[in-house]
């Protein structure tokens, strides 16, 4: 079981690092962080139905991403306020649906339950999807980032790409819930990407640096957590933040 766990956490970290680059460059860090909160009621429903929590969480995250996408397309809607109200409420309602404190802590900060084969399969397939999406669509994502109008004239279907991007982002959050929970997965997506943005001199450099920083934080954090007898998620995020601080030593 150790090998599967390691493999799953590495692929999850690579996915988080890669998608994080575009989240950070599109200046969606805060909205993205809040989106992860909608996973909690999904976990609650799945637990009540005796399903694997990952599937409930993923369904709710897809729904949340669809909501962000719909609001993005409307002119004159206060996206920030809507996200602030809706996603925080999801966190509150989701918390009420948990059956015990242990369950709540695991959902919020990540916990190491038994790793079942549907989850391993889901994780590997999802991580592969994220990596394939970012590597094949990076050109279109860059042009869309510089100017959606420019992307349109270059033949990019901007609305469709935005939808795919948000769904892939939701999938990345779902991947990390086991390790980092609803509250901290956003941090593993954002912190390595911000670190990479500081260090890299071009796009490929940023993608590689972010993936590497996320993997390093995940492996070191997991090991350190078991050594210190702490929850895994908070240790991983702390290690990621330390790597970010170390990046200031350069230059």
């Amino acid at each position: 079981m150790m090998i599967e766990n390691l493999l799953l956490s590495i692929t999850m970290a690579i996915a988080a690092g890669l998608i994080g680059c575009f989240v950070v460059m599109r200046r969606m860090a805060l909205a993205a962080d809040a989106l992860s909160h909608v996973a909690l009621p999904g976990i609650g429903v799945a637990l009540a139905l005796h399903m694997h929590p990952i599937f409930g969480a993923t369904a709710m995250l897809f729904f949340g991403a669809l909501l962000v996408w719909t609001v993005e397309g409307k002119v004159g809607v206060a996206t920030e306020a809507l996200i602030g109200v809706l996603f925080s409420t999801a966190l509150a309602v989701g918390s009420l649906m948990m059956n015990s404190r242990e369950e709540l802590v695991a959902a919020l900060f990540g916990g190491t339950g038994v790793l079942a084969w549907p989850e391993i399969l889901f994780g590997l397939v999802a991580a592969t999807l994220v990596v394939v999406f970012v590597t094949t669509q990076r050109g279109s994502l860059v042009v869309m980032l510089v100017s959606p109008d420019l992307a349109r004239t270059a033949g990019v279907n901007v609305r469709r790409l935005s939808l795919f991007y948000l769904q892939i982002f939701a999938l990345t959050i779902a991947l990390g819930l086991r390790y980092l929970g609803v509250l901290l997965m956003g941090a593993l997506i954002i912190i390595p990407a911000v670190t990479a943005k500081r260090l890299a001199k071009n796009l490929t450099g940023m993608l590689l640096t972010a993936a590497l920083a996320a993997v390093a934080a995940t492996i070191a954090g997991t090991w350190l957590a078991s050594y210190l007898h702490r929850e895994t998620g908070p240790v991983i995020v702390t290690v990621a933040a330390c790597i970010f601080l170390l990046s200031f030593l350069r230059r």
């Binding site: 460059m25 002119v75 050109g139 279109s140 109008d149 349109r152």
Partner: protein, 231 residues
């Protein structure tokens, strides 16, 4: 004459505000059209509806095989993103047809060195960034260029170079050019027709017809101090 673009009764509305109303004009193949008018008259909105970025009423008809190269107005971009000029140009290559050497050719045409293209886009000066945007627009072998203030933020000699470059490209590649400009001298020199979006009225015609003191004063709502000399 062959038309590349026909616009009929175009209206664009943002909620209650009608930014463009009942606009009609057409653009002949290989010609150049200047769009002028005061700030807030809807020049950029017109371009955005022409490329299909905004919902509109009326009809916009492009010739069937048209390929558009677009240079947008100043962009709201994080200056420290690690995207180089080359990353940006390469981003288009999977989306376009044409040869591999196209990026090198485009850089050469706009006068950007390979060395400059390795810098991140936030490190480029205003003029260099405009050249990069023009290089991007030239990829994919466009037949029409839409230029939204292509020389904004460039120094005087740079502006002249850029205008000459666009004019030369137009002649060599037989391009149709639509450009937004506040430089009436440039409009007078390069445009075959002028579309002018005023606060109260819209007019369309040759520079000689449009660029008269009375009409300009009326359109800008303030004395402009420009007219075409009769020489």
């Amino acid at each position: 004459m062959d038309h590349v673009l026909e616009v009929n009764h175009l209206s664009v509305r943002f909620g209650e505000v009608e930014v463009l109303s009942d606009l009609s004009f057409d653009v002949a193949k290989g010609s150049s059209l200047a769009v002028i008018g005061p700030n807030g008259a809807g020049k950029t909105v017109l371009f955005q509806s022409l490329i299909g970025s905004l919902p509109f009423e009326g009809a916009i008809r492009w010739a069937p095989d048209v390929r558009i190269g677009y240079v947008p107005q100043k962009l709201d971009l994080d200056r420290d993103v690690p995207i180089t000029g080359m990353d940006f140009l390469r981003a288009r290559s999977p989306l376009m047809r044409g040869a591999k050497g196209e990026i090198a050719d485009a850089l050469d045409l706009v006068g950007l060195s390979t060395q400059l293209s390795q810098k991140t886009i936030g490190m480029l000066s205003g003029g260099q960034f405009q050249r990069l945007l023009l290089a991007f627009a030239l990829l994919g072998d466009p037949s029409v260029l839409l230029l939204d203030e292509p020389t904004a933020g460039i120094d005087e000699p740079g502006q002249r170079q850029m205008n000459e470059l666009i004019h030369r490209l137009q002649e060599v590649r037989k391009l149709t050019v639509l450009f937004i400009s506040h430089e009436l001298t440039v409009v007078n020199r390069y445009a075959a027709n002028v579309l002018c979006l005023g606060r109260r009225r819209v007019c369309f015609g040759t520079p000689r017809k449009i660029l008269t003191r009375d009409l300009l004063d009326e359109i800008y709502g303030t004395p402009v101090g420009y007219h075409v000399h009769d020489d």
